[in-house]
């Protein structure tokens, strides 16, 4: 990491767990680094500036009381940092300015750190996702589905990727007409096709029905073509991720949902997932009960009152329905919400994770994130607020975090089904904020292309794929084509303690995880025994060839073991 050191100062870190710690604070264009002095063991803070949501001055020149003058930093990763300084000589002014400048480069006309990062990795993460190979992996195009380049220059839809898969029987002209009836031109396109029954998962934005209940023949016909494509007689199932009330309310702003009259061959269900504002408030409540101290007296009811797990449950439940409809119901499915870049991305990607074991591998999951989230225009820039000082922006929302939480819940219920471990998910979330990689920067492919992100920055997958062992789940058992349905019940959903409460040393679970650790030890032991056995066999074989008397040689005994070598 190219670090330009810009500040070095003595401060007091007011740690909520250990009390005040005196230390030296270094600020670079990438990170804030604190090393304690005069205490043992050493306390170290290493925080990428990208995680900073807000920097506040606390106390004034005349404030009384110990450690009352300094800075209070709110982070995007469930913690706050507080530094106290000496009141004399405006000692916090320079540090405040430097932090503000580098934490919010977009607000200061500075580039993201990712653009000056000169790290080198063994792997090139930008090679992980190639839309054409991913569709080919899904055995597309085929007789019913074609790849279209209509959006090559983002002319059809500026928040969609350039490559799209659409029904073979719909012309590019049809697509243009459909785009006119879909919010932000986000037409229904294919996300995933079932290898056997050919049912598909489609995604889009809401139809522009409006108060007057407008209809669009092209959109209606287009959905019918989709329904027809897998040769099943069943209806097309539309999952509207929103609560029905919200969907109705959207009519007022020109949106809406597919009505029965206009779409007699479709069946519509609402999945009751709330909007980005509800999720943001829920996470805020969660932070209140876990940071800095865990609410102990009524932990379970406090947790319940945040509704965080309830939202997780609704997202998972929705995804299970999508997956089940496609897999058991053999019916094609269209998923949308309002714009089709938040809840829709959650639902399609989770359903695909349940249906397709490829996405449960490390590289497969990277492809999934690249495809359903990054290329289809989840607005990372505004949801995360990369480098932007406007911490109260109503566009911010932990939608992607919620998705990763759902993945974690699944990995808890299926300990052997995922190639990646918890650390993999945490690393992704850490770099969702860090701005060290270009992966999550900007909101859509068209902007990323303009900013030359793949040429000028590194991919997060470069880091992860260069140290795969660290992110691998030792219990992973490769399995093909098994649909995985988690139980989306409050009885099984748990708070992800190792993420949300990881800063609290008292709550954090044992690291490394003893269950994994023991397995790794046994693996090493097995390898060691095999090596020793091999050595013995070699020496023994030479002995036998010398004497050749023994009738029951150990190597005969162990023939079933030998097969390995």
């Amino acid at each position: 990491v190219r670090n330009q050191q810009t500040l070095d100062k003595e401060v007091i870190y007011v740690c909520p767990f250990n009390g005040a710690v005196k230390g030296r604070l270094y600020v670079t264009n990438y990170r804030l680094y604190l090393r304690s002095v005069e205490i043992d063991p050493v306390v170290i803070l290493d925080v990428p500036l990208g995680v900073i949501a807000r920097i506040e001055k606390m106390g004034g020149a005349s404030s009384r009381g110990e450690n009352s003058y300094g800075l209070d930093i709110t982070c995007k990763d469930m913690r706050n940092l507080r530094f106290a300084l000496k009141q004399e000589g405006h000692s916090r002014r320079d540090i405040f300015e430097i932090l503000t400048k580098h934490a919010f480069p977009q607000s200061h006309n500075l580039p993201f750190f990712a653009f000056v990062n000169e790290e080198k990795f063994a792997e090139n993460g930008w090679m992980v996702y190639n839309p054409m190979s991913e569709y080919r992996r899904q055995r597309l195009p085929n007789e019913q589905w074609r790849v279209t380049f209509i959006n090559e220059h983002y002319g059809l839809c500026d928040t969609y990727p350039s490559l799209l898969v659409v029904p073979y029987n719909a012309t590019d002209d049809d697509l243009k007409k459909v785009a006119a009836f879909r919010s932000r031109n986000r037409i229904p396109v294919l996300s995933w096709i079932h290898p056997e029954n050919q049912a598909v998962v489609m995604r889009s934005s809401q139809p522009l029905v409006g108060m007057s209940g407008k209809r669009n023949k092209d959109d209606e016909r287009y959905l019918d073509i989709i329904r027809d494509a897998n040769g099943q007689i069943s209806k097309l199932t539309i999952y509207d991720a929103r609560p029905s009330v919200n969907a109705v309310a959207n009519k007022a702003t020109g949106g809406g949902y597919e009505g029965d009259d206009a779409y007699p061959n479709a069946e519509l269900f609402f999945l009751d997932i709330h909007n980005i504002h509800v999720m943001r408030e829920s996470l805020k409540k969660l932070k209140d009960i876990v940071y800095p101290n865990v609410e102990e007296s009524h932990w379970l009811s406090s947790l319940e009152s945040t509704h965080w797990l309830e939202h997780i449950k609704l997202v998972l439940t929705g995804a299970i329905q999508v997956a089940d409809k496609v897999s058991s119901g053999k019916s094609s499915v269209l998923v949308h919400c309002s714009d089709g870049w938040d809840r829709t991305a959650q639902l399609t990607s989770l359903a695909m994770l349940m249906l397709d074991s490829y996405y449960r591998t490390i590289v497969g999951f990277e492809v999934l994130v690249q495809k359903e989230w990054i290329s289809f225009g989840h607005k990372f820039a505004s949801r995360i607020g990369h480098g932007d000082k406007n911490h109260a922006d109503a566009d911010r929302s932990p939608i992607f975090l919620q998705f990763i939480d759902c993945v974690w819940q699944m990995s808890k219920q299926f300990p052997t089904a995922f190639e990646f471990n918890e650390q993999f998910l945490i690393t992704i979330l850490d770099h969702l904020y860090s701005c060290r990689f270009g992966t999550f920067l900007y909101s859509c492919e068209s902007v990323r292309e303009k900013e030359k992100v793949t040429e000028r920055t590194l991919s997060l997958w470069s880091l992860i794929n260069s140290e795969k062992a660290k992110h691998t789940n030792p219990f992973y058992t490769k399995e093909l084509n098994r649909a995985l349905y988690p139980v989306a019940s409050m009885r099984h959903l748990e708070l992800w303690v190792n993420y949300y409460i990881r800063w609290n040393p008292r709550i954090r679970q044992q690291q490394p995880n003893p269950v994994e650790q023991r397995y790794m030890e046994l693996l090493a032991l097995r390898d060691d025994y095999m090596r020793r056995l091999e050595e013995l066999q070699i020496t023994n074989n030479s002995k036998i060839s010398n004497s050749s008397t023994s009738s029951a040689s150990p190597s005969q005994m162990m023939s079933h073991v030998q097969t390995h070598f």
Binding site: N18, P41, V42, I44, D46, P243, V245, G259, L268, F269, F270, L271, E295, E296, W299, L300, S301, L303, E304, K313, L314, T317, G318, I320, Q321, D324, G329, Q413, F414, P415, T416, A417, L484, P486, V487, S489, M490, R491, N504, P505, R506, I507, R508, Q510, Q511, P514, V515, Q517, R518, E521, L522, A524, L525, R526, D528, Y529, L533, P554, V561, T563
Partner: protein, 763 residues
Amino acid sequence: MFSLKPAKPTFKSYLLPQVEDKITPEPKIKKLEPVLLPGEIVVNEVNFVRKCIATDTSQYDLWGKLVCSNFKISFITDDPMPLQKFHYKNLLLGEHDVPLTCIEQVVTVNDTKRKQKVLGPNQKLKFNPTELIIYCKDFRIVRFRFDEAGPESAKKVCLAVAHYSQPTDLQLLFAFEYVGKKYHNPATVNGIDPGGGGSGSGQQTPLFETYSDWDREIKRTGASEWRVCSVNEGYMISTCLPEYFVVPSSLADQDLKLYSYSFIGRRMPLWCWNHSNGSALVRMANIKDVLQQRKIDQRICNAITRSHPQRSDVLKSDLDKCLPNIQEIQAAFIKLKQLCVNEPFDETEEKWLSSLENTHWLEYVRSFLKHSAELVYMLDSKHVSVVLQEDEGRDLSCFVASLIQVMLDPYFRTIVGFQSLIQKEWVMAGYQFLDRCNHLKRADKESPLFLMFLDSIWQLLEQYPSAFEFSETYLTILYDSTRISLFGTFLFNCPHQRVKQSTEFAISKNIQLGDEKGLKFPSVWDWSLQFTRRDRMLFHNPWYIGKSASCVQNGSVKSFKRTKKNYSSTLRGIPPSLKNGIINEQEFLPRRNSLILKLKPDFLQQMDSQTNSMEQYFREWFSKPVDLHGVILPRLSGTHIKLWKLCYFRWVPEAQINNGGFITAFHKISVLTDQVDMLNQSLRQYKSSSSLQANCSELDQSRMYFRANGLNDTAGTPDFLSSSFPFSPIGNLCRRSILGTPLSKFLSGAKIWLSTETLANED
């Protein structure tokens, strides 16, 4: 739903089995005969019964014969279990059987007359039942339908089940009949092994019925200033104490006899365990004699102090003052059961967390763990002896004494050690299993203290998966075994009751006892009575790191010796930046009234510094890597105390994770362990090729339930694994079927049905 009317007194001996006017026997039905144990007799039976598998459809229902014996209700069928089945088999019970002592409530229904009746013993039934619902103590709900069965036979079976499952006399429990039969025909069946499961499991569990078991325990723990005392031989002093127990060497038998009058139930202090630093764990009943109280208390404490090598202080902990009582625990249990199995799954989802909190179950589990951990600190760090004091000293003391020893002594985390602990602190110390399990249906004394203890052990197992030799399946099956009235272990209120009752029984049945003190009942620790060798493998925790286990450190294999230095240094280790984590002040503050220090008043004044140093002790302990063969302490935050899902959800179809759950990782590590064992075996054979033949058989002796198919086995997850494994919810809870119908129908939470209606109204 689970409240029972008090059982009315009833006649003492069972009716002879009635000969049923049989329905024309069809050839297919004819061979459906129950498998009976010695002494077991069929009381009543009815053919053409349907066992319901799901409430919403009869398509999976099984046809067969329902039999009520003096031991169990048995459903015998030729139909295979649909969809899923159990993956272990209890040798005493068929797949659909319920032991009578496991029955909580018997409900008969006539759905055409819309009548329902909870059947007590000796009751009349005015309608012909179309349905029989059995609510079980292990959370199952089993349902039978009699649509095609003879109405009279159905009624008789229902009455028989109600009557035989609610006996009023101890000697009516099946174990007596079984044991009596064994004594009558010692030749035809194997003699009863009263020991701790020596046959099959290799190692004998000490039962603490003899002088020598106690003596060995004194020596094992190095309690040199303590002696085994025989004053209660023949139960001459107390009928609720064991015949042998351990007391301070400085107390003479004469003194003990004298003091005993002052204690409730004459339950004088019993030694439990000694720390290697010399401090002892002792339990005793309250002193009822107010005048003598101070004096006796002083003498006892002095004697305990004298038995401490450093003459350390004695800390008395009054458990009644700081822990929930047995009624509160029972109330919590009823709420928990209600929540887990009785209430509709979907309706409890929204408020699940707060409802769970409102049961207080987890809060109570936490309070036992917390209090025990505080006393561990006293024994381990302050080097003081601890006396657990409780009214009779037969309930909370059993729990706390056991928990403290599990935390302090790794021996009690092995299977044999854990079993010996239950013998020592529960069975011998007079925990009233008969009353607390409510085998005789006197609801007011029922309390699931033993289950809560197993739950606390599960919490520790969950937190320290490598520290225990046994698995959670073992703990669950142990809980189930308290509901099988065959084992003497969980049948009585105290050892004396066994002797007295079985002697009476023997006389009435003309059994010659000879020198024996009462009849010998089989011990639950003889697991071969219940499970095959292979099924017992499920008891073994593949994560356990035994004393002699090898481990790899930085790629090289080392054999562990029991030195604290090198042990498990590979396990854990906190990144340096977090090493100075502290324990929240509130976390380990003792409740002031829970710790009463005796003898030295100045000790009391040090209370504040005590609190700080206790905090310090916990903080330091948690900052270090765990020594799995040393002390283990529970993490007590709300995020750490969890619901024991295998035990409470195993019958709930909606809660079952198919192809998933922790068991899939269990399977994976078992296969790997098996491979390591195989290799180890081969290596040893190479090294001692002379004894090649002798070792041959060892090859087949795997420790693991799940075995490796050679070294190339990549161990795909078997299809039958689920979060309920080895149990199965199918047919064990009257619930909607979850399999075979579109999954989305069972998804709760998303109010999609409501929404569709809303949508319809909209249009």
